[in-house]
């Protein structure tokens, strides 16, 4: 967002549709991800985001700019999502525990128990541009869609949208420890998929 916040608020208040379209385009993906962690379906999440934007439009003239526009919009969103989340029945628990395949480590009878077996140790992936190739971006994009919802929300907000740990805890109602567990599971899973694809 090249526009400074006070400017942006003024443009929105002034009816600058292009500015509005731009913030909707920029922030809605992360808003969807947050909403989806609170409610059960994508359709519900989309309604939550839409309702949150409508609430923002109603509140725009009264917005005092004590917080940043983005913080305010995400606060409106989380409140909307929480209300909707409570109205829906309990969320699905995530029991899955992916990690690194235990067979890649030496057994308890080895001189170095729990250390990588020589033939199964990770190896460097080669030059960065290759790893950033469209093929691997697409693979991770598809893999994200298959993660359990809260793992997906945490890893996307952190690593795709660039929110910090504290913001993610607030947006998703997580303790710092739970935020780390979900981030760890998601990143571990995604690294494993890339490793398989690159090998």
């Amino acid at each position: 967002m090249p526009v400074a916040d006070p400017d942006l608020v003024e443009r929105l208040r002034g009816g600058d549709e292009q500015a509005f379209a731009e913030v909707v385009r920029l922030w809605s993906p992360a808003m969807l991800r947050v909403a989806r962690a609170h409610v059960r379906t994508h359709a519900s999440a989309e309604e939550v985001v839409q309702d949150a934007w409508l609430a923002v439009l109603r509140g725009l003239d009264g917005f005092a700019a004590r917080a940043s526009l983005k913080t305010w919009i995400f606060t409106v969103l989380v409140n909307t999502a929480r209300r909707r989340g409570r109205a829906e029945a309990g969320r699905v628990l995530e029991l899955e525990r992916p990690g690194v395949d235990p067979r890649r480590f030496r057994g308890d009878d080895d001189e170095y128990p729990g250390h990588w077996r020589d033939e199964a140790a990770p190896v460097e992936w080669g030059p960065e541009p290759e790893v950033l190739a469209a093929e691997f971006r697409g693979l991770l994009g598809r893999a994200l869609a298959e993660l359990p919802d809260r793992q997906r929300a945490v890893v996307e907000l952190r690593d795709v949208h660039g929110f910090d740990a504290e913001e993610v805890c607030t947006l998703l109602d997580l303790t710092p420890a739970n935020q780390r567990v979900l981030l760890h599971r998601a990143r571990t899973r995604l690294r494993g998929l890339l490793e398989e694809a690159i090998a």
């Binding site: 002034g14 549709e17 989309e46």
Partner: protein, 96 residues
């Protein structure tokens, strides 16, 4: 307080702890390490292990590469219908 003779902080003790740390354990606490959530001593043991163990060093590099690729993945956004509903609501609201 740890003195210079503290068995947990001498270079030899750090080296021993780094060798003893199982790679299977390291990969489980790597996110805590990257998040800065580990006590300083544990982080030092991890760093010493990474310096000794090419497998774990490669694993960490792969994890960092994964995080960088994630910064470039295409993201799901609002449906065109929802977006046009919002733009219509914005126009209706008018300036001020």
């Amino acid at each position: 307080m740890s003195g210079p003779r503290d068995p947990g902080t001498t270079p030899d003790a750090l080296h021993d702890a780094a060798v003893r740390l199982a790679c299977a354990e390291l990969v489980e606490i790597l996110t805590d390490y990257l998040e800065g959530a580990l006590p300083a001593h544990d982080a030092a043991v991890i760093e010493a292990h990474l310096a000794l163990c090419p497998g774990c060093a490669a694993y960490l590099a792969q994890m960092r590469a994964t995080i960088r690729v994630l910064g470039h993945v295409p993201v799901e956004t609002l449906s065109p219908e929802a977006t046009s509903t919002l733009l219509a609501a914005f126009r209706e609201r008018g300036p001020g």
